[in-house]
């Protein structure tokens, strides 16, 4: 029987290629912290990608990349599942296959529906923006529904879906500030309560990027997408 533990006997090398602001990289940080895994953080400058990044993620050339004993894994949700299977303490996924499927379904929903719609609302203009907002509203309604009777998406404790949705807890207020438009508003009381709970978790409290620095960054991005006419 294999015994998994946070500190392994043989030298274990865990590196994480990320950036200071990427929400995808932050998910992986949260998972590593949750499990108490020691790792080397390497912050990339995406305007000048390192040879290491290009070597370890030749397909996408993106962060995050987890490198475990020299072997690279890319794509944040793939990384999260790998972390959960490799280090067994504080599991992110439940044992029950149906519950696991539910977690995966909602993590996917964030990545494929909710996040793109909110990003669209942030970056687009005119009719496209209206459509993005309408999609975001629909998506938020569904997410609100899913939280009924639950503290976290995972139930009493966080799971994969919470980690996937976690960006809302610290980044949506930045969008609110920059755009002057509150997309996650009082229409979603359960989601607002969840955001509060999530942001109080030690992994979130100790590991989110600084708010002011994020505002500066996203203000600049906003101006880029909405040039003054």
């Amino acid at each position: 029987m294999k015994v998994e533990c946070a500190k392994t006997m043989a030298a274990e090398e865990v590196k994480l290629l990320k950036t200071w602001s990427s929400l995808f990289g932050l998910r992986v940080v949260w998972a590593l912290k949750l499990k108490g895994i020691q790792y080397d953080a390497i912050d990339e400058d995406l305007s000048n990608k390192s040879a290491l990044l290009l070597q370890h993620n030749p397909v996408y050339k993106k962060i995050p990349v987890l490198v475990h004993n020299g072997k690279p894994i890319s794509e944040s949700l793939v990384i999260l599942e790998y972390i959960d299977e490799t280090w067994k303490q504080n599991p992110i996924l439940p044992e029950d296959p149906l519950e696991k499927a539910r977690e995966r379904f909602w993590a996917k929903f964030n990545d494929e529906k909710l996040l793109p719609s909110i990003w669209g609302a942030f970056t687009k203009e005119g009719k496209e923006r209206e459509e993005a907002i309408a999609a975001a509203v629909e998506n938020l309604k569904l997410v609100e529904e899913e939280l009924k009777g639950k503290k976290f998406f995972g139930g009493e404790k966080i799971g994969l879906a919470d980690v996937a949705f976690g960006w809302l807890a610290y980044l949506i207020c930045v969008f609110d500030e920059v755009t002057g438009f509150k997309i996650v508003n009082e229409r979603y009381p359960l989601l607002l309560a969840w955001m509060q709970e999530f942001s109080q978790l030690p992994i979130a409290k100790d590991n989110c990027p600084p708010h002011d620095k994020l505002v500066i960054k996203f203000q600049a991005l906003y101006e880029k997408h909405h040039p003054a006419k």
């Binding site: 949700l77 793939v78 790998y82 499927a101 996917k108």
Partner: protein, 223 residues
């Protein structure tokens, strides 16, 4: 123990057929319910997939699971026997990586290339071919993406394995997947469709060809 497995699907959907292939690999008996995805969505579909209102949906003892790749992971975990994913966590991660690549990059690029207007076609084909080239590299001398047997990536790539060549025949454009351009990927499509369990999970060739010929005619008529 009496077990009830149902699949809400559509005969021509590669996503729906992925789920059927996974169930057949595991030797799981199931009841198939055809959904008319172009017409009115049935109350059953709206009840069991209220979020996306799409096929496929797997119903296991009355509990619904949606999203084909989520369903396949559920199938893998629920029914032991012939594995769809490797045991080793790193190899598993690689399989999931390539599966995502197929779903998020290859399939949309191929679909765009197939239906793009003439003036955008060259660029769309170039992008789709880049995806195919990258995917081909994942085969790395193996018979299937899964090694000696069909695995998750092979199942996810069923569109490329079967649908794509039929669509190329329907459109008259053979410039995406060809033996000349992608010899090992092309060979994989032959291996894929001649696999007996895969054969059982594929829609009838003639029906699919006729379906796409009609879609092409519709697209041309609206120009």
């Amino acid at each position: 123990m009496s077990e009830e497995v149902k699949v809400l699907g559509n005969w021509g959907s590669c996503f729906s057929r992925r789920v059927e292939l996974a169930l057949k690999i595991k030797g799981v008996e199931y009841e198939y319910i055809e959904e008319d995805v172009y017409g009115n969505k049935s109350p059953l579909l709206l009840k069991y997939n209220p979020v996306h209102k799409k096929v496929p949906v797997l119903l296991h003892n009355g509990k619904p699971i949606a999203e084909s790749l989520v369903i396949i992971e559920y199938i893998e975990e629920t029914w032991k026997g012939t594995p769809i994913l490797p045991e080793d966590p790193y190899e598993k991660a690689m399989a999931r990586f390539w599966t995502k690549f197929v779903d998020e990059k290859c399939l949309p690029a191929l679909w765009r290339a197939v239906w793009s207007p003439e003036n955008e076609r060259e660029k769309a084909v170039e992008e789709a071919c880049k995806c195919l080239e990258t995917l081909q590299s994942a085969l790395n001398g193996k018979r299937f993406f899964g090694g000696d047997t069909v695995g998750l990536v092979d199942i996810a790539a069923n569109f490329i394995g079967f649908w794509l060549r039929i669509i190329q025949e329907a459109t008259g454009h053979g410039d995406l997947l060809s033996a000349e351009k992608f010899p090992t990927l092309f060979k994989w499509t032959d291996e894929f469709v001649s696999c007996s369990v895969v054969k059982q999970s594929l829609p009838p060739r003639d029906k699919l060809l006729a379906f796409f010929k009609a879609r092409v005619a519709e697209a041309n008529a609206s120009k």
